[in-house]
Amino acid sequence: MTKLLELKNVSKHYVHKDGWLPGRKVCALEPLTLTLERGETLAIMGETGSGKSTIAKLIAGAEKPSTGEIYLNGQLLDPRNYRQRSRHIRMIFQDSLRSLNPQTTIGRQLSEALLFNTTLTSDEQREHVMTTLRKVGLLPDHYHFYPHMLSSGQQQRVCIARAIIVDPQIIVADEAFVSLDPSIRAQIINLILDLQEDMSISFIFVSHSAEIVKHVADKILILHHGRLIEFGSTQTLMLHPKEQLTRLLLQTDLQSNVTVVTSAPTHSTTQE
């Protein structure tokens, strides 16, 4: 059986150009090979500048890889052909408000994906948008709303609706939970877990919150300066991390809070 998603030696470098002089090459991601099964959840972790957003963008097609190929169900994805992957791989951005067109209603923006990826008539499109809005916990009334009229949690729901509206196989989320309030964040996580169960979507997300990664992910990929340093199932990485960085990233600061809860605060840490 072919794997759902396969990355073969995918790498990315940027060229910093200064005028007409030949630019400096900066490597954002060293060649990386990776496979993902159907319905699996992959978390990408790393420090700032480790290339974790780059992977997400490469898979979603927002950036073109410098070398290497990406296969979906054994089929090569052309980095210039957005139509080819737009049905199957969808992206959720970090800042939901900025990723929505401020001058267009929610309904129009959601039907955009249907217009270019399906053969539905405009009435069917409308119907489908309404159903999807309901699926992500919004009302059909929101069809006529503009993005700035919604709260941040609702905006994030619209972005999720845009991702699932064409029944994709993979959803890529780049730090989608960072800017949300705790209560809204928990709701969104629940929503994604629900949708994943219903539609058996694979979910790839970038996060630096160990809490969320532990809760949601099946596999974790740790990056450091654009290089893969550890990759494995959540259980393995949590219990037997090979690298020091993995341990650091997966350690929740909660553990320090628990010591506060269980024992009275000692001021030993204050004198280094």
């Binding site: 809760h215 909660l254 506060v260 605060p265 840490t269």
Partner: protein
């Protein structure tokens, strides 16, 4: 002794939909040398509170309080010039994106040297200049930056976010303030860097008996040494008390919900649905009457349409009609 004493602070904003009470009778006391954590989601008015304390006041806000005292000054009675003098001498603030609060066009060293109080320098021109330099370096050493020389020669964009936050802390403590207000200083930071900043803040607080008001939106980012914690929702105080008591025995449903929503790693097995408050945070135009948590609270009953009084059990205070802890009624 409380150096900051706020009782029933109310901030009203004039919006297009009429006057809105954004902060509703909020009380806050901070003792000398204490680290006080203020937890609130967006729209809770936590940043407004910080601005009200510091006196960044917009003429369109109406601020009333039974008491807004800083040490022995009544801040509301002072005129703007006096108030600036007091807050400028005793308080400092650090922000979420340190990079954007540093001047991008001048070197870190120049910005730091500028902040050294001129009154503390001695001698003539050259001597003073050298003194400034050593004091600026000492400031950087105090926030745990070892290569002070090279950092001072760099521009803000060259610093990592952790370093930039340390520099902004160094700038904040240049005047030896008595109160440091930290407005979500570590949101969007790596856990690692975050821990470093927390250690630094705790150390500063302990060694200089500087009080810290740490504003955060989430229970996962609390300084471990924090002594007291306040939870605010939509401008109303929900619960306040010693950190360990509040986190281990929450009296308010909101605290309980926040705990289970933020620290689920321990309680919920992977892939299970998280307990959460239903609905969304109300917008300014749609604030409910009575206890503002009411519509989202799992324990809400009819009595909740009246704003609950702040009640006290030992060290812990909460504002709820139906607390989660056993209360021996005193009447």
């Amino acid at each position: 002794m409380n150096i900051l004493d706020i009782r029933n602070l109310t901030i009203e904003l004039e919006t297009s939909a009429g006057v809105v009470k954004v902060v509703d009778k909020l009380s806050l006391q901070i003792a000398e040398g204490e680290i006080h954590t203020l937890v609130g989601e967006s729209g809770s008015g936590k940043s407004l509170l910080a601005k009200a304390i510091l006196g960044f006041i917009n003429p369109r806000w109406r601020i009333t309080a039974d008491r807004l005292w800083w040490r022995h000054y009544d801040l509301l009675a002072l005129n703007p010039a006096q108030r600036r003098l007091v807050t400028g001498r005793d308080m400092a603030m650090i922000f979420q994106n340190p990079g954007s609060y540093l001047d991008p066009n001048s070197k870190v060293g120049e910005q730091l040297r500028e902040l050294i109080p001129a009154g503390e320098l001695k001698g003539l021109y050259l001597r003073r200049k050298a003194d400034r330099q050593t004091r600026a370096e000492r400031l950087l050493h105090r926030v745990g930056i070892k290569e002070a020389k090279s950092i001072m020669e760099s521009y803000p964009y060259e610093l990592s976010e952790g370093l930039a936050q340390k520099v902004s802390i160094a700038m904040a403590i240049a005047h030896n303030p008595k109160l440091l207000i930290a407005d979500e200083p570590t949101t969007a930071m790596e856990p690692n860097t975050r821990a470093q900043i927390y250690r630094l803040l705790a150390k500063l607080s302990a060694s200089q008996s500087m009080s810290i008001l740490m504003i955060t939106q989430d229970l996962t980012s609390i300084i471990p040494e924090s002594q007291r914690i306040s939870l605010v929702y939509c401008g109303q105080l929900m619960e306040v008390g010693p950190t360990e008591t509040v986190l281990s025995k929450p009296a308010h449903p909101y605290t309980e919900a926040m705990l289970s929503m933020s620290l689920f790693g321990q309680t919920a097995p992977p892939k299970t649905r998280l307990p959460t408050l239903t609905g969304a945070i109300p917008t300014l135009q749609h604030l409910p009457i009575g206890c503002r948590l009411g519509p989202r609270c799992p324990y809400a009953r009819q009595a909740c349409i009246h704003t609950p009084r702040l009640r006290k059990v030992k060290q812990q205070q909460y504002a709820c009609h139906f607390p989660l802890i056993e209360v021996i009624s005193d009447d």
